[in-house]
């Protein structure tokens, strides 16, 4: 095992060292590619990442996750200034399905409830009202609407548990993992999702092969593989947070849960989870954003229980809605009591 990690580290160093987009500084260039990170919609502009460059473009014409676009602008470091979208080809297939699902949610509930649901289910937060996004950040709850590994774990275990009722466990695992990867693409192919999908694949794959896999090894191997394939993710905040949070969970969650056992508190399991994740995440958030909320673990423990029902209702609504849109819209409605609680808690504490 040790030899393997040494090889991994060596490979990562080589790969990270070779990151080089080499765009001529100051030149006006045209780049063409698929938008693989969901654009962020601000009041007056849209923020997109394309081929290692960041750019602000006008709100219209609209660029969505999955579109193939041609972008023109002036290179300035890793930014493309005065950027203009020259051409857009909408992405088909799964990208289209994703937009369809978000459209169903949008018709069913008002903001910020609908963005909360699409954020939790699909990691899509392009419609999130900016003031609510700020509230999420100040309360330390923004992680629920960004693509997170928790979703992948949830999808995988849900699929395994359902499928084993019908087919053999091994086949169920293979199908569930395939489902998890479809979900990763559907939700934006962000680093945290990929991390969780690889970890899940390793954990379940090892189970399937009859090997014992520890969570720690799964995390380290998947982290290494990701950096070898996508070395630029070493600078990606989502990757870093996802990796560190998972590491903290593996190391501390069980211990904290034992410590909290005596507490007469309803959501103590969620509290243990959040506290454990915070141990690693807080310093990083502090370095990046310069602030953190002391109440955050408490706020998280108040709202985390709403996530599974929102995911289940949202996913059911999506599946039903793709066939009968009106029925899907009705199902989304059932998530309202949960999102109402979530939004109220966040608004009270922000």
């Amino acid at each position: 095992m040790k030899v393997l990690y040494v090889i991994f580290v060596a490979l990562i160093i080589v790969r990270v060292g070779s990151i080089n987009y080499s765009y001529p500084e100051g030149a006006r260039i045209r780049i063409q590619g698929r938008v693989l990170t969901e654009p962020v919609v601000y009041e007056r502009a849209r923020y997109i990442k394309l081929k290692g460059l960041k750019a602000y473009v006008e709100l219209f014409p609209e660029v969505n996750y999955g579109d193939s676009i041609t972008l023109e602008g002036d290179v300035e470091g890793d930014k493309l200034k005065n950027a203009k979208v020259v051409e857009i080809d909408s992405g088909g297939g799964l990208y289209f399905v994703r937009q369809k699902i978000v459209a169903i949610y949008k018709k069913a509930l008002p903001e910020p409830h609908v963005s909360l649901i699409s954020g939790i289910v699909l990691g899509s937060k392009s419609g999130l009202p900016p003031d609510f996004w700020e509230s999420l950040k100040t309360t330390g709850t923004a992680h629920v609407v960004v693509a997170s590994g928790m979703n992948v774990t949830f999808v995988t275990s849900f699929l395994v548990n359902t499928l084993v009722n019908f087919i053999k466990r091994q086949k169920a695992i293979v199908l569930a993992l395939a489902g998890a990867w479809v979900y990763v693409v559907l939700s934006g192919f962000d680093a945290p999702l990929v991390r969780a999908a690889i970890m899940g694949s390793i954990a379940f794959g090892a189970q399937g092969l009859g090997r014992v896999s520890t969570a720690l090894h799964a995390l380290l191997v998947s982290g290494s593989l990701m950096l070898i394939v996508f070395p630029e993710w070493i600078y990606d905040l989502g990757f870093i947070l996802s990796f560190v949070a998972t590491l903290s969970l593996i190391l501390f969650e069980a211990k904290i849960a034992t410590m909290l056992q005596r507490l007469p508190f309803l959501f103590k399991k969620d509290l243990a989870t959040t506290l454990a994740a915070q141990i690693g995440v807080t310093p990083i958030l502090f370095i990046y954003f310069g602030n953190f909320n002391l109440l955050s673990p408490f706020i998280n423990s108040l709202i985390l229980w709403t996530i599974p029902p929102i995911m289940v209702v949202g996913a059911a609504a999506a599946l039903i809605g793709l066939v009968v849109p009106a029925l899907g819209e009705f199902v989304v409605f059932l998530a309202y009591p949960f999102t109402f609680w979530f939004v109220s808690v966040v608004n009270i504490f922000s």
Binding site: R44, L59, F60, P61, L109, E111, P129, F333, Y336
Partner: protein, 284 residues
């Protein structure tokens, strides 16, 4: 039934019960409200009465969606009418999201067109929706739930080819409406400039109204003395945000403060909410 099935059934029924209570709590009041949404530098005016909504313009970004969420019950996903006074981006951009988030019954507009990315997207959204499109001109009256809207402008749009129309100054073809409900009335003016302000003062009955939406975000060439003297509003609402055009213009503010009117600005107090029961009115 198994224990698990019971558990699911009970959870489901609990959710339905809570949902019903949330619906009951959010039942709207029967008063009429005219809400100038704080959408920054642009216009979005929401008129609500119980579960009826009429939205006049959508502002420059997506803020209108938050405004609709604030003043509409969560279960009401239908806007009875959306009026697009003219195709400029500071009035029509937000309408794109309105069509994606809500069912719209009527889309009220004129045949004035602009070939911009925003307006083309809006036309596509309207076309794909189930909304009935209604082109209006001077002289028409629209009635929604006891609220009437008299269209005072534009009159005949000069015949021109699509491309010629695209280069029109669209402001002066804004839809201008006089809204009335009981003793309460309001003049909604879009972005008209002073010569149209004069024209409306001369040709329409806009004497002594309660509410004036000051034309064109308080621009210098918007409200005319003549129109102000005719309308003599009790409350004048200016919808604007940070801008580089110098809105609201000093002269317009002076004009208004010399008259006996209360000035309310969205850039100072956020959403401007005026409520009426048809006989008296008050500011929320």
């Amino acid at each position: 039934m198994s224990k698990k099935a019971w558990l699911y059934l009970i959870s489901f029924l609990t959710v339905i019960a809570i949902l019903s209570w949330l619906v009951v709590i959010s039942l709207p009041k029967p008063n009429l409200r005219v809400i100038a949404c704080d959408v920054g530098q642009g216009d979005a005016i929401l008129i609500t009465k119980a579960d009826l909504q009429i939205l006049v313009d959508g502002g420059p970004g997506n803020k209108v969606i938050s405004c609709l969420s604030r003043y509409m019950p969560f279960w009401d996903r239908t806007i009875e009418a959306v009026v697009s006074t003219h195709p400029d981006a500071d009035h029509s951009t937000g309408l794109v999201q309105v069509f994606r988030n809500y069912s719209v019954t009527h889309f009220v507009t004129t045949e004035i067109n602009r070939e911009t990315d925003v307006y083309s997207t809006l036309k596509k959204e309207v076309g794909e929706s189930k909304a009935q499109i209604h082109f209006v001109e001077k002289g028409e009256r629209l009635i929604y739930g006891g609220i009437y809207f008299d269209v005072l402008h534009p009159g005949q749009i000069p015949p021109a080819s699509e491309t010629e129309r695209a280069s029109f100054k669209t402001n002066n073809y804004s839809i201008v409406m006089k809204m009335g409900y009981g003793d309460f009335d309001a003049l909604l003016t879009g972005d008209i400039e002073d010569k149209v302000s004069d024209l409306i003062a001369d040709t329409s009955n806009v004497n002594n109204l309660v509410y004036l939406k000051v034309p064109h975000h308080g621009s210098k060439n918007g409200l005319s003395q003549k129109l102000l003297d005719e309308v003599r509003p009790q409350v004048a609402v200016i919808s604007l945000g940070k801008n580089s055009f110098g809105h609201p213009h000093e002269e317009v503010l002076k004009l208004l403060s010399n008259s006996d009117t209360k000035i309310l600005r969205t850039d100072q107090i956020g959403d401007v909410v005026v409520e009426t029961n048809g006989s008296t009115w008050w500011i929320k």
